[in-house]
Amino acid sequence: MSKKDYDDIPGTYVFDGTQNRKGYHLNMFCMSLNKAENREQFAADPEGYLMTFPMTDEQRKAVLDRDWLGMLRLGGNIYYTFKIAIFDGMTMQDAGAAMSQVTVEDFKKMLLDGGRPVEGNRYKSEWEK
C-alpha cells in the first residue's frame, strides 16, 4: 500500500485497510468474546477455540502469549484486542503498561503526572535519537 502521512508517528498502529485485511479474523475472534458462551468456551479450551477462527498460527500464538504488541503488529485493533484484556480481568492501564513495556505502577504514575507528553513523541525520528 502507498505511504501514509501517519507512518512517521512512533509507537502507533493506525488501523487502516492494510491492517484490517491482515487482522480481520484475529479481530473477529476478539469480538466473539462479547458473548458469554464464547468466553466460557475460550476459557475451557483456548487453543481449541482459537482453531475455530481462520487466523494465522502466529496470530494464535500472540493471543495465547498475550503478546499485546504482537497482536497489533499482526493486524489487531485495540478496540478489539482489548476484549481479551477484559476477559483476563485487566484494566486499560494494565494493557497500556504491557504495550509500552513498563510496569503497571510506572504506567499509572506517568498518567497521574499528566500522561505521556506529546513533546518528543510526535515523530519516529525523535525516538531514534
Binding site: 509507537g11 487502516d16 473477529m28 477484559i86 494493557a95 498518567l111
Partner: protein, 280 residues
Amino acid sequence: MAKIIAGVGTSHIPSVGAAIDNGNTQQEYWKPLFDGYGPARKWMEETKPDVAIIVFNDHASAFSLELIPTFAIGVAEKFQPADEGYGPRQVPVVNGHPELAWHLAESLILDEFDMTIVNEMPVDHGLTVPLSVMCDQPREWPCKVIPLAVNVVQYPQPTGKRCYNLGQAIAKAVESFDEDLNVVIFGTGGMSHQLQGERAGLINADFDTAFLDDLTADVDRLVKIPHTEYLREAGSEGIELIMWLLMRGALGEEAKEIYRHYHVPASNTGAGLIILENEK
C-alpha cells in the same frame, strides 16, 4: 417545532461508568473528576430535554469489521445496554424516539448524507457512560435518546468537516420536525488519549484546552484539523473528538459556553466536559 437548545461534549471512558456502577465516585482517584460533573448534572436536571441525540462510537459491540458504517442512526423503540465482555452494564434500557429518528434519517439522506439506518443496536459505554455522566443513576433515563454512531474504529474516520456539516444538517432537520421538543445533542469520546502501542498513555492537555476554547472561539480551526494531526497530537484514539464537532455543527454560530470541566487522568484519558447553549 422541535429545536436544539444545547450541546454537551463529554468523554465516554468505560472506567468512569464502572466507578459509578461500583459506587467508587468518592474515592480519592475519582472524586476530582466527579466533583466537576456535579454542576453539569444540575444543568441537565434543570434543562429537562425531551430528547438527547447522542453522537458516539461503537467499540466493537454492535458493529464488527464485517460491516462498518460511517454514520448510523438508531430508529428503534429501545436500545439494550451491550455486553462488551463483562456482561451488560446494569443501567436502564435506552428508549428511542422513532418518529424523530426517522424524520432525521429521511431528511439527512435527502440532504445528501449517506446515513445507515439501524433498527437493532445494543449500545455500549460510548453511549451509556455519557448518560451516566450527565444523569447519574436514575431508575429510568430522563429523556428519549437517538443514538448516532460514528465510525472511529476503522481508518479513515469521516473528516471533522464532514461531521460538522452533518451537525448543521441535523439542526435543520430537527427544526422541520412538527412537534414541540427540546433537543440536546451530545458529542462524546476523547479527549486526548492513546490506548495502543508503545506510545500508549499519551495525553495532551494543551491540545485539549485549545480544543475546548475553540469550540466557541475558533470553530473554523477545529473543523480543519486533519486526521494525522489528531493521531499525532491527541493520540490515536483522540480522533474521537470529531464527534464533538458533529455536536458543535448542530448549534448556532453564537452558541455560548456555560460550563466546562477538564481533568487528567481518568484511566488513560484526558477527560473533558463542556456545555454549550444556543441563544434562546
